[in-house]
């Protein structure tokens, strides 16, 4: 287990000596900050205009109008674009630099290698998400968001990101080419994402039947996120994301291991 920690630590150090991590953090905070301010200003204006009307005032909700659009809308899209950039170098870089020959001749298992790499990427995503807590803090100083809903949103976003990273890491194991790893990951995530749209099309439902369509919908990576953004933590969604992570890491471990046996 100690090796996992050291591998993760080395990965993290690499992220933070290269501009990559800073770039991703900067883009993330910039865009989320912009959209946060715009949402907040719009919300404040509505409060000013409708604040005197008790009927409208009931409709105004800082969670619904400021936080949810932010995390429900922007953040998953960002993850889709940026997280494959985090994972694309994890395994290909080892092969390119020839360091795979070091790590595979060290007394560590391929599972430890995969877990260490995954953990490193996960910490980067946690730092990224953590930086957005400043917006929540700003919000608490001017209004009273429901913290439970915010927490469920954060859990959902974290799990979604963790699943994206696991899929990205898994696909990066198949290639030595970082660009290919990136494109593969974005492609796979897009497919998993749009399964939800596909499953809702009636043309498909007529063809394959209700049950198959429901199955596809359940497979969609974004469908399971919806409840979290409403403040509902349903164990089936948590299990879904954890299964995606476990499966991806398992495949990645098998692929890394297969290099030993070629």
């Amino acid at each position: 287990m100690r090796s996992v920690f050291w591998i993760a630590r080395r990965e993290l150090a690499t992220y933070f000596v290269s501009p990559l991590a800073y770039l991703i953090l900067a883009v993330f905070t910039l865009v989320i900050g912009l959209s946060f301010s715009l949402n907040l200003i719009a919300f404040a204006n509505e409060c000013l205009v409708y604040g005197n009307n008790p009927y409208y005032l009931q409709q105004l909700n800082v969670n619904e109008q400021v936080i949810r659009p932010l995390f429900g809308g922007f953040v998953p899209v960002f993850f889709l674009i940026l997280f494959p950039a985090i994972t694309m170098r994890l395994l290909p870089e080892e092969k390119r630099q020839g360091t795979s020959e070091l790590i595979l001749t060290c007394p560590v298992s391929s599972l430890q290698i995969v877990l260490g790499k995954y953990l490193g990427a996960l910490v980067v995503s946690a730092v990224m998400l953590g930086s957005s807590l400043t917006f929540v803090y700003v919000l608490t100083s001017v209004s009273k968001p429901e913290m439970a809903t915010v927490a469920s949103l954060y859990l959902g976003v974290f799990l979604l990101g963790a699943a994206f990273l696991a899929i990205g890491l898994c696909l990066s194991a198949f290639t030595e080419n970082q660009v290919l790893a990136y494109v593969l990951s974005v492609g796979a995530l897009l497919v998993l994402w749009f399964l939800s749209g596909v499953s809702k099309s009636t043309a498909l439902t007529d063809k394959v039947g209700e049950r198959a369509a429901a199955f596809l919908e359940n497979l969609s990576i974004i469908e399971h996120f919806a409840d979290f953004s409403k403040g509902v933590v349903d164990s089936q969604h948590v299990v879904y994301y954890l299964s995606i992570i476990a499966f991806s890491l398992f495949v990645a471990q098998r692929v890394v291991d297969s290099h030993r046996w070629r």
Partner: protein
């Protein structure tokens, strides 16, 4: 310390190594000499647990590399052909990382790293990023990486390739310092390197060990003829045909490097030098030099690996 028996590795239909068997005793330095693609790297990769053999057995420090890879890996220091460096790290941070994942206990990491740094002459660059170091220093970091966990066995794949002569000298001295202390296998296709460093030499060709012995024995074993180089001054020098008439001579080759210089090869025990001298006196040939030509390791190598003379220099 290392025992390899009938080791075979196939990549699909291609046989990379074919029934290799050898032993290395504790403290010995064994050199793998062979042309590129002969199977040196593959053999090393199997010993280090990077890849498994198709068949056969390899035992390092009493442990089977397939059955107990982790224990074996703990005992081996491996320098691959391209040193496996995380170039964005500093030398010291890199060595600490390697020490940690090689399983050096936390309390001894600092001490192990410092001793590897000192031994490999890296003290002045220990705080610098590996990517900014010269190739020679990077190679030394590669060797430091291989000794940081004090392994009993070291496997070095072409440790001096691509270095300048001064750097080569330093790396060789470093490797020589392991003699008697660690069991070393090193591969190279540079002949003087094995001559200078190794106790025994294994010549590998097309996936097989074609000879395995000390350098002296190897040269001796292949000495099936007596050879001399003779030099005449200008004037009435003999032609090769004149020399071929001498008793026991098998061939006479005109040396391209100098006029009137010949390489004479004769049967063992024919005392060719003396015969040439006596004939020169009788015929009044202006003989100015006679010197014996020893069969060099290079020739042994070329002979055993079946390459044309002059193709590999």
């Amino acid at each position: 310390m290392i025992e390899v028996q009938d080791l075979t590795k196939r990549f699909g239909p291609r046989i990379a190594i074919d029934g290799i068997t050898f032993r290395v005793e504790k403290g010995e330095i064994l050199g793998f000499l062979g042309p590129n693609g002969a199977g040196k790297t593959t053999t090393m990769r199997i010993l280090t647990g990077f890849m498994p053999p198709t068949s056969g057995r390899a035992v390092v420090a009493g442990l089977d590399v397939v059955a107990e890879p982790r224990e074996v890996k703990r005992r081996i220091g491996y320098l691959p052909e391209h040193p496996p460096l995380y170039k964005e790290m500093t030398v010291r941070a890199y060595l600490v990382f390697v020490a940690r994942i090689k399983g050096v206990p936390g309390s001894r990491v600092r001490e192990s790293v410092e001793s590897a740094v000192e031994r490999c002459g890296l003290a002045e660059v220990a705080g610098r990023l590996i990517q900014n170091l010269s190739k020679g220093y990077q190679q030394r970091v590669g060797i430091a990486q291989a000794i940081v966990h004090s392994p009993e066995v070291m496997i070095l794949d072409e440790p001096t390739v691509g270095l300048d002569p001064r750097q080569i000298l330093k790396i060789r001295n470093l490797i020589r310092s392991f003699h008697g202390e660690k069991t070393v296998i090193l591969s190279t296709h540079i002949i003087p390197e094995v001559e200078k460093l190794c106790d025994r030499i294994a010549i590998i060709s097309e996936g097989r060990i074609v000879a395995l012995d000390t350098q002296a024995n190897l040269s001796h074993r292949l000495q099936d003829s007596e050879r001399i180089s003779v030099q005449f001054s200008d004037g009435s020098a003999p032609t090769p045909a004149n020399l071929e008439l001498l008793e026991g001579v098998q061939s006479v080759i005109k040396d391209d490097g100098a006029p009137n210089r010949f390489l004479v090869e004769a049967k063992v025990g024919s005392q060719i030098a003396r015969r040439v001298f006596e004939r020169a006196v009788a015929e009044r040939w202006p003989l100015i030099e006679v010197s014996p030509v020893k069969s060099s390791l290079e020739e042994v190598f070329l002979k055993l690996t079946g390459e044309e003379r002059g193709v590999v220099a």
